[in-house]
Every structure is written in structure tokens, then in C-alpha cells.
């Protein structure tokens, strides 16, 4: 079974074709174009959607060409219906609807965050993990129970991806700033005290953001090092508590920030203490991509038919813990 997935929730416009055979998935192509705001500036939803509109047909053509698949060969089309930025979501939805309508292919609106998790499971082989979803849109600790991903901890304000991006932009870097902060942090071992806020099993980063901005003049490398150590230790503490509480024997990290090696180091040492297997999404597929959308569409198609075009919604604030998982 062949599925086309269209991702357009934020910076990235991506189309991917995934083949599903039984329970196995194989990514045939995954093509992306990423909107880059000017240095020091954040994402502007309308500008990002213009970027997506401009590149949509070129990305789709390249995706089909690389996979050697024709549109008529597709069994389903899925698109990221949320959560995300309204104008960006609408471009992905319009591309999916037009293909579905014109070529008469079943269509599936899917949850972007769920895509991160299920693609991570598919690529790593994790079976029943506790999941840490860390990206520009999410900071969540989740476990699956009774047809839904349940939240065992999350951010109370900004996400860890926003934290890194806002610090990076303040320092004049171009978004996404995570890799640059990681590179600078690796050049220092000087820890400058920063606020460490874990409330129950939730974390709060807004105070850490303000305090890190204040210490940047003391040295950008030590500021980045201290920021990473503090933010990742906060998430590590909450994750360790969730591991102990749920008794899960696997931990899976997904989302754009999963590519950070220091975060993986902290989490893998926690897993070692709990005799738990540690999985991290491959760097190439940790961030936003069409494959995550395509894979969810394929999983859903095994349990339900596509939706009518008039019901193909977009929902900017579509929480993962409201999605019923039937497969």
C-alpha cells in the first residue's frame, strides 16, 4: 500500500511516499523545503505559508520522481491537519484535497504530533515506549493507554524548541537555532546558575529564557552550556519520574530536539539506571517531515476509510491526547 504524506505545520513543507507491507513501513522518498526567516527573526505564519505555496508543486513532483511513483499509483493521501500555524496548515490541506478530489484518492487528516511518535516507533523498533516529544511545538512526556497517548508531563509555558530558538534569535542566529546552541555549548564546561523549574511532573522554561538572556554578555558559550544543562536536566528529571511511575521498559525520544546529542546522553544514562531500552529517532527523521504524516495515514487506513472532503479540517490547537488511536 502506497501513501503520500504532506507536512506543512510550521517551517517545513514536505511530501513523502511511504510503502506499507503488513506492519512494516518503507520510506520511498521524503522531500522537504524549509522556510528560513531572516537572522534574528522568528517564523511569520503568512510568510511561511507563502513559501509553502511557492514550493508545493516542485516538492510534490520531486517526491514522486524520487520514489518512481505516479499519482495514480497512490492508495491514500494524508496531510497534517494540526496542531500548527493556520495559514501553513491550509496550504498542506489544499494540496491534499486537490489531489484527492482530482485523482479520486482517499484522504486522511492526521495529527502531526502522533506522526512524530509513530514514525519514531517504526524506524527504531520500539514497541511500547514512554515517549519524550521535544520540538518547537511540543515538550511532552507520553505513554499509551486505552487507545490514547496520555500526558505524564509537559511544559507549562514555552516548548524546549521555542526556548532554544528564542535564545538563538536573541543572540542573532538564524532559526532553527538548536544546532548552533549545541555547537557553542560543546565548547564550554562553565556552568552559570540558572532557574530550574519542575512543578510536579511539568516543566516551565519562561524564567529560564529570561535568565539565559541576561547571562549571554558573560559569554555565549557558557550561556549555551548552562542553558542546555538546565533545560535538559529538568526534562530528564520529569522523564525519570514518569519512567518510574509507568514502569515502561523503553524510552523513545522524538521531535526536532531529539537530534541533540547532550539530551540523548542525559536520557540514556537515566535509562541505564532503570534497565530500560533507549531509542532516539534518526536525525534525518527527528524533525518535521512528510514521512510521519504518510505513515499515520497508512496506519489509520488499515482501520477506517478516508474522510469526505467536506470534513477535511485543519485545527491549529489539536492536542495529541484527544486523538483516539484505533490501529
Amino acid at each position: 500500500m502506497l501513501g503520500l504524506g504532506i507536512e506543512s505545520t510550521a517551517h517545513t513543507f514536505s511530501c513523502a511516499i511511504v510503502e506499507k507491507k503488513g506492519k512494516q513501513g518503507k520510506i520511498l522518498s521524503d522531500v522537504r523545503k524549509i522556510y528560513r526567516p531572516p537572522e534574528g527573526e522568528g517564523i511569520h505564519p503568512r510568510e511561511a505559508s507563502r513559501h509553502h505555496a511557492e514550493h508545493s508543486s516542485e516538492v510534490l513532483s520531486e517526491c514522486l520522481r524520487k520514489s518512481n511513483v505516479k499519482i495514480d499509483d497512490l492508495d491514500i493521501i494524508s496531510y497534517a491537519a494540526g496542531p500548527g500555524l493556520g495559514p501553513c496548515l491550509r496550504i498542506g490541506a489544499v494540496v491534499a484535497r486537490s489531489l484527492s478530489s482530482y485523482y479520486d484518492i482517499p484522504i486522511y487528516p492526521v495529527n502531526h504530533a502522533l506522526g512524530h511518535i509513530e514514525l519514531g516507533k517504526m524506524l527504531t523498533g520500539a514497541k511500547d515506549p514512554l515517549v519524550l516529544l521535544v520540538s518547537g511545538g511540543h515538550t511532552m512526556i507520553l505513554a499509551f493507554l486505552s487507545k490514547k497517548w496520555r500526558v505524564f508531563g509537559e511544559t507549562l509555558d514555552i516548548t524546549v524548541g521555542q526556548l532554544l530558538d528564542q535564545i538563538g534569535r536573541h543572540a542573532g542566529f538564524a532559526s532553527p537555532c538548536g544546532p548552533k546552541i549545541e555547537e557553542l555549548a560543546s565548547k564550554s564546561i562553565e556552568y552559570l546558575p540558572l532557574p530550574y523549574v519542575v512543578k510536579g511532573n511539568d516543566v516551565s522554561f519562561s524564567g529560564l529564557l529570561s535568565a539565559t538572556k541576561r547571562i549571554i554578555p558573560k559569554g555565549i558559550e557558557s550561556a549555551c552550556f548552562s542553558l542546555q544543562e538546565t533545560a535538559f536536566s529538568m526534562m530528564g528529571e520529569a522523564t525519570e519520574r514518569a519512567l518510574a511511575f509507568t514502569g515502561k521498559k523503553e524510552l523513545l525520544v522524538v521531535g526536532g530536539v531529539a537530534a541533540n546529542k547532550r539530551l540523548s546522553n542525559i536520557l540514556s544514562s537515566i535509562c541505564a539506571r532503570h534497565h530500560c531500552k533507549f531509542f532516539v529517532a534518526p536525525k534525518e527523521y527527528a524533525g518535521d517531515c512528510g514521512s510521519q504524516i504518510s505513515w499515520i495515514g497508512l496506519l489509520e487506513s488499515s482501520k477506517k476509510p478516508g474522510v469526505n472532503l467536506e470534513n477535511t479540517f485543519v485545527k491549529q490547537s489539536w492536542r495529541l491526547d484527544t486523538v483516539e488511536v484505533l490501529y
Binding site: 503568512r46 505559508s49 507563502r50 505555496a53 508545493s56 508543486s57 510534490l60 495559514p87 491550509r90 496550504i91 490541506a93 489544499v94 494540496v95 484535497r97 486537490s98 489531489l99 478530489s101 482530482y102 472532503l309 467536506e310 470534513n311 477535511t312 479540517f313 485543519v314
Partner: protein, 80 residues
């Protein structure tokens, strides 16, 4: 006194299939519009007519027209 505007955009020489694809692709997002702003699509033989109506903030009307036309262009490109 606030300005009231009605803008009609005609898409001519469309095949029945393409016109239907455009309509079906745009209509699901035609919800939760701000007050004093409306958008509807009508069919007239080989034409599709977009009718935008706005009262008050003209920028909102212009932004809506801009976004809908951009999406229409995307639909025409990916189905060509």
C-alpha cells in the same frame, strides 16, 4: 462611516473536473470567518466565481482574497 466592499473573481475556461476540485479544496476552510467578512463560491458554466464581501477593516478582506487566490494557484499547479 465604514467601507463596504464586494469583490468578484472569475476563473474562466476551467474543465468541470478542475472547477470541482478547486471548489472542494477551498470550501472546507471557509468557516469561522471574522464578522463582516464572507466568501462564497459559485459555478457558472465554464467559470468559477469567487465572491468576497467585507465591511469595515479592508485589510482583512484583502488578506483573505490574497490567501484564497494563492491557494487556488497551488491547486491549479498540483493538478496540472
Amino acid at each position: 462611516m465604514s467601507l463596504e466592499c464586494k469583490v468578484q473573481v472569475f476563473l474562466n475556461n476551467l474543465s468541470e473536473k478542475k472547477a470541482e476540485s478547486i471548489r472542494k479544496s477551498l470550501e472546507p476552510d471557509n468557516i469561522d470567518f471574522p464578522e463582516n467578512l464572507s466568501f462564497r463560491i459559485e459555478k457558472d458554466e465554464a467559470s468559477l466565481i469567487f465572491i468576497f464581501e467585507g465591511k469595515g477593516n479592508i485589510r482583512t478582506l484583502i488578506s483573505t482574497i490574497d490567501e484564497v487566490l494563492e491557494q487556488t494557484q497551488v491547486i491549479l499547479k498540483v493538478t496540472s
